[in-house]
């Protein structure tokens, strides 16, 4: 009977998410629960079946991971409690004996494909793309020698580093990536709990719906940050499915809900936007301390609050 904390992730073993999970959590101290997709993994947290899920949230090439952002944005509240960033590079795997010139179809997850598109156009200009449900799935199918390549439907698979060796496939190309700086950000997600103390190098993730489709509404939202000196490190728009022309914005800001400038900015959003969803304040993966100007630090807020108090009681 295990009493270790349980972590859901996009499985099977061998996916990028698996690698991210191992980077964040020592496998000896936790139970890892593979799931078929991100929606399932986050659902398991909500249901209490697991304690946390580790899921990809953003990619330097593709942008936000739609399924993660949308699943976090509605339903019972979840919060991000940590993040890690992994570089993105793939192995191109084939069955032993297959040559590069034999490759007519390559299978990969669509996000993976997006990150090797230029490489594929240059190296395999005639190969077609076959969608796979995960980065590991295509390689697993290819490794199943009980099926002919015709039955499998593709000749090669893109997979995370280490997959070829694990499955007995030939690595015909290594470190495949359109961009050397390509990376994926993974987050550890749990149920709401008291937030940790600010470290000075924190991020806060939000989803905000705008009151209307005007660019003016976006500008007003940004002013709520600007007047408190809060800086955004990511902003992504998402259509609101059933209301054409309306948008929600998924954002990361540099700072922590425990800091006064962030708290006041959140209050401003809460007052003026129809939906504001808090998705956690947590330490940044890069540990880089946020530069906070003197007039937006906690001390400046405290002094200003004391001053207003002195105006009210006439002791100024």
């Amino acid at each position: 009977m295990s009493s270790l904390p349980k972590y859901a992730y996009l499985g099977p073993a061998g996916t990028f998410t698996h690698a991210a999970l191992r980077a964040m959590v020592d496998p000896d101290t936790a139970e890892f629960v593979p799931c078929v997709d991100v929606v399932t993994a986050l659902g398991a947290v909500r249901a209490g079946d697991v304690d946390y899920a580790v899921v990809a949230i953003e990619n330097t090439v593709e942008g936000g991971v739609t399924a993660t952002l949308d699943t976090l944005a509605s339903g019972d509240p979840l919060v991000i409690v940590g993040e890690t960033v992994l570089p993105v590079a793939f192995e191109l795997l084939v069955r032993p004996g297959t040559e590069l010139s034999d490759i007519t179809a390559v299978s990969a997850h669509s996000h993976a494909w997006a990150q090797v598109r230029r490489w594929a156009n240059a190296t395999l200009p005639d190969a077609t793309f076959v969608g796979a449900s995960s980065n590991a799935a295509a390689a697993v199918a290819l490794a199943d020698q009980s099926r002919s390549l015709d039955e499998v439907g593709f000749t090669a698979a893109l997979a995370p580093p280490g997959t070829g060796e694990a499955l007995g496939l030939t690595v015909i190309a290594d470190r495949v990536a359109d961009s050397v700086s390509a990376a994926t950000r993974f987050v550890k997600v749990g149920r709401p709990c008291p937030v940790g103390r600010p470290t000075g190098a924190d991020k806060t993730t939000l989803v905000v719906h705008l009151p209307s489709d005007h660019s003016g509404a976006l500008m007003e939202m940004l002013e709520q940050f600007a007047v408190r000196g809060v800086v955004l490190s990511r902003i992504e728009s998402r259509p609101i499915g059933d209301r054409p022309g309306e948008y929600s914005f998924s954002m990361d800001l540099l700072g922590h809900v425990g800091e006064a400038r962030v708290a006041e900015a959140l209050m401003g959003l809460k007052r003026t936007c129809p939906v504001v969803r808090f998705l956690g304040s947590y330490p940044k993966a890069d540990g880089e301390v946020t530069d906070v100007s003197m007039d937006t630090g906690d001390e400046a807020f405290d002094q200003a609050a004391n001053w207003v108090e002195s105006l009210r009681d006439g002791t100024h």
Copy 2:
């Protein structure tokens, strides 16, 4: 030995300020102390010689009253605790027997002159203007029959209504004013004390120095108001005497330091501007209730603050 509260004002009896004081305070309940100028009247409050001063602060034609604004803006703190607005119209006074065509020089306070300039150009195109130290002073001098008109230096005086009758001068023109809507705002000024409760129809007066001479700095200051839905009813720039190109701004905003949106805006100014001076929150003379949108009312601020608290303790 009087224990009545003492009110300093720009005297002598008969000035507009005297009329404003009587409109605000029942003469039977207070001791009125005439002063030679606004600086003296406000100095008497600071020194504790009187309890309050009533002084003109703004005029619909001339704008802010420089001496009042500047005296409030530096030195020991003073606060405005009430206001009243009086229409501005003058009597043109002459000695008995003087005809309109005899008038070669008119004496008045320079603020009074500014408010009848167009009338004077049309009615007395050839008359010159002679500055007087108060609205009452010119009429008093003219009424002193021991001096010849040559000695007096002018033929006619502009003065507040009622002055001619009081001094035995002839009212050769009545209700003299360039604008029928001309009015002067007077304020009752005291030493700092606990502010009253918000009435819903309040004004707050401020003086703010901007961090630099750029229009950008002014825009940033105004954004501190805009994001909290605080509206200004008056804004006037004043050069900062010994720093060419730098400005202070004297402002009235609609609201009360006891209201959350005003308090947060004041905190924003305090954090970002080199000087912020609070000159009081007090009921508006016109009693018109300030229109506050739902998302900037005290309840919206309270709810937003509670929400942020729930984010911090994980109960959202």
Copy 3:
């Protein structure tokens, strides 16, 4: 030898794009050229192999179509010359004899899957998703009776309306969509050419890179629109692949480069943003006339320009 204009599209026949193409162009007046993906279709326009491509650019559920946006955003210039909007709903297709309860795996294009996710969770909670390269591909594979379902790898396919009848598959569920308002926007893309005249109901599409990752930079960009009264109907961020933390924004604005307010806003972006890419001014699919306030119409701009001219030559 055909002299008809050639249109590339995401084939094969039967895709949503095919339906959009037929809605925009009479098949008797043009040659339709199916392509394996959007990148190929747009490449064919650039190469001069076809005159136009019709491609999906935006979806009310998923947001922008990444491949289209990215391909338009770099490489030789292309411009949008028209748009159309099609509602999104699918048929769920099976081989004759398959029951709903037999369905263990559903294949569809990932964008299609995103638009039926809630329906699938409710109706087929245990079915897994198998990615397909196009909306038609999964149905075509399923209709190939020479392969067993095991070989095919899925039991059911989601496809555009009419596909089941065309391929001899059973429509086991019709009008499948999470949202009744789900729709896809398709654009007709050509090589740069003189823009048409403004119709009053036009859209202009842009891609803009921001000078830095600060929210301030986004706000400054939006002000370029706001001061000229230009309204955005779509704004989407995209990471700039090889520069972590930098974003490009893909936008539609209501108006036409032939209108003064749009031209001046574009000039403002061009001056202040590192990259501005114009992707066409073209009539809106809905024909709804843009509301332009009196002070931002062409006449207001003309009068203001004439006034400035009069200031310069002293005739004001």
Copy 4:
């Protein structure tokens, strides 16, 4: 019969304005026409009786000169064609034999008085102030030995440097000024004419009425400058006499109507504000070149305009 250009100024000889006029114009090349006040001097330009007027427009202590600003702001158009700045310091003049302790009343122009108020409070705490119509008038009256001091009504006069010697009065205090940096700005005003070429160190003076009394309207006006990188060096509010709560703003911006960024900002004001009055583009007194960022220079505007042209004709 003189064919020299005629210059009106606030006389008589000996005033600060007279000194400013001599600093701007060689007396041998022009005819100087003293006027009783600023309104008369500017009226003489409008009537064609003189070619130019030199008038005080701004003071580092008092702010804008009301009469000048208001007279320029309405009536037939006038333009500023040059400026000069003079330090402000006074002589305190008495009749021979008068001691400092004898001084009970000091006469001066009210603007002069404002600039020595602190000095007067410290040095002559008991002396009263008597308004004079010009800086020279009080000294002239004091020098008229045919009248007793009682008849004159004051014991001492403040006047510009050199006045005591010219009139035979005793200089009992020299370089009297509250601020060593106190200075007055004088402008040369003419009828509209073709503006000169930009020098790179220019100022443009404007009067703008705001569409409403909201702080939002002021912010929108300032954004018209900000998005074009135009910086204000002076901004002053003035009530609009007959419309309580409405304001006009008198402003100087750094730049010239012949420059593109200024022209576009003026167009923006013209489109959106009920009244915009141009009061001239002219070289700055200090000759300091305006710092213009690369993206707001004329070249950036030209390139942007050419780019928009290329979008319209399809040659981009």
